[in-house]
Symmetry: C2
């Protein structure tokens, strides 16, 4: 089961009146630091502060009236939670969100503010999948998975649809798009959109060091897991393994995966603050960190970077402000 | 001497390939805090981090080849300096910038990075106008004034041109645009653009408390000065009096001026960080502060706010992160 470009176009038609077509930003000072021109797709400016709102709207807008009458359920450390919570409220259905006990306070609070009921669980002691399955069965709720759902991947792929148009409009001579990768919904969606529109432009995933399950899986040719589930500041993109649906797509379309350190991520967050005036969360800044610090970058004049979200706790953001 | 809508259209044609058409952002959570829908024109995303790049490009693009061969000079506490420095480099002319000794470090450093020669002076001891006049005369440089220049006002007015289009496209039922005001170049330019395109939409200026020379001048019917020249965190918009060219425009077109406290500004900066994921400097956040905290707001469902710039020192930004 995979997704096609047509799925992305259909998702685009279902959600385009709800989502922000985010700008592709450039900064002469950031270009000087990077030694080439960088073009940054600014998904922190998306409604709810991350691209996850696209996939949530795409999936919920595809539900039947009966399913909408019963409600939806999701599990997420934060950004998918906020996206599903608001999308559910727009489509007038109820949302139940299962979040880890140690999710950032602001993400839990905002998920509640958008209207969802939040149920918290302890990582390591309980399985969110088991809680989700039980509640979905008891209440007849539809589970909106964070990445292993064709409608979610298609919704995230609308980022790639916009990128392709913006790359052509700006006349960029780029051969690569760097994109953060957790479960792979965003990167698989963008890679699918690029294959159909700009086949010479290759997507490369970026992950935190020690949590680079996708890079290692791509290199090995099969899905492998990370050793740990915690220990990175990039909470939004720490997942145990690549997704079942997303990994085959990336295996077929993506280039080699990159990885960056927490310190490089904090520096990238500072440069986004200082030159682009955009607030980026750690998980959303890994691709910019790679563009600034990686030794394994593609050789092209213009490099396109996806900044995926900005839902960062103020206390953590302060650390980025002293990063350079 | 005033400016017309045609001047703004001509400036737009000269600079549209150089400037960012900045997005008009909305956040459901910010709407909840404000109790109505807010629409925020995000000029921190402009090249050089503020709207000042528009006016600088407009003025320098209108110079003769002879004037470009000699170079330009400007005085500014920071944002106009950066705009002129980069615009000069784009039009291949040299820039000399006179900045106060206590201008924020990042603004001085960035002005140099864009290519200008920076000359610093001591506020209170020396007159920047005298230094500027002497250097302009000695070196044959063209002075690019920060606001009292028709081409600069016309350039800033392109914000209003974009706003008018965005207000219509979004179908907003707004009757007011709130805009920060220092010398008045931005607000006079926007007011001129709105008069020609959406005459029912009235611009209102917003200033820091105790530095509300424009609000008091509008109320009194003639230009009055502030008592102090320092003592606000809003360094970008502290000017002694309204401009000679800009004040008659505002007198003819603007509504009553508003004023906000430093604490309200810090809270507005936090909300822009938290809900919009945009970095706003204190002077750029006064209009949002008014929208959130003023008791004298217009009675309309949608309120349009100009966020004018984001060139804030990280140390000051940290204060905003603990503001609420």
């Amino acid at each position: 089961m995979t997704i096609t470009f047509s799925d992305i176009e259909q998702a685009h038609h279902r959600i385009k009146h709800l989502v922000v077509k985010t700008p592709l930003l450039n900064s002469p000072r950031l270009d000087t630091i990077a030694g080439r021109r960088l073009w940054l797709k600014a998904e922190p400016l998306q409604i709810t502060g991350s691209f996850k709102f696209r996939g949530a709207c795409s999936a919920i807008s595809a539900l039947s009236e009966e399913a909408l009458a019963r409600g939806v359920i999701a599990y997420s450390s934060g950004n998918h939670a906020q996206g599903v919570s608001l999308a559910a409220s727009i489509f007038k259905t109820s949302a139940t969100i299962i979040m880890p006990h140690d999710a950032p306070d602001n993400k839990v609070a905002n998920t509640r503010r958008y209207g969802a009921e939040v149920i918290q669980y302890r990582r390591g002691e309980e399985s969110r999948e088991a809680i989700g399955a039980r509640l979905a069965s008891e209440r007849g709720l539809t589970l909106i998975k964070p990445y292993d759902d064709p409608n979610v991947i298609a919704g995230q792929g609308t980022v790639g649809l916009e990128l392709a148009e913006q790359i052509v409009t700006q006349g960029l001579s780029t051969t690569a798009v760097l994109c953060c990768c957790g479960g792979g919904g965003l990167s698989a969606g963008i890679a699918t959109a690029l294959e159909a529109t700009l086949p010479k432009v290759i997507l490369q995933t970026v992950e935190p060091k020690h949590f680079d399950d996708t890079a290692r899986s791509l290199a090995l040719g099969h899905r492998v897991a990370n050793r740990a589930e915690q220990g990175s500041i990039c909470d939004a993109i720490v997942t145990p393994t690549p997704g079942e649906l997303t990994f085959p797509i990336l295996q077929s379309l993506a280039g080699a995966g990159l990885a960056v350190s927490d310190d490089e991520v904090l520096q990238a967050m500072f440069h986004a603050f200082d030159t682009l005036k955009i607030v980026v969360e750690p998980g959303g800044a890994v691709a910019l960190a790679a563009a600034l610090f990686s030794d394994h970058l593609p050789d092209c004049e213009d490099l396109v970077i996806v900044l995926s979200g900005g839902n960062v706790d103020p206390r953590l953001f302060k650390k980025a402000l002293v990063a350079t």
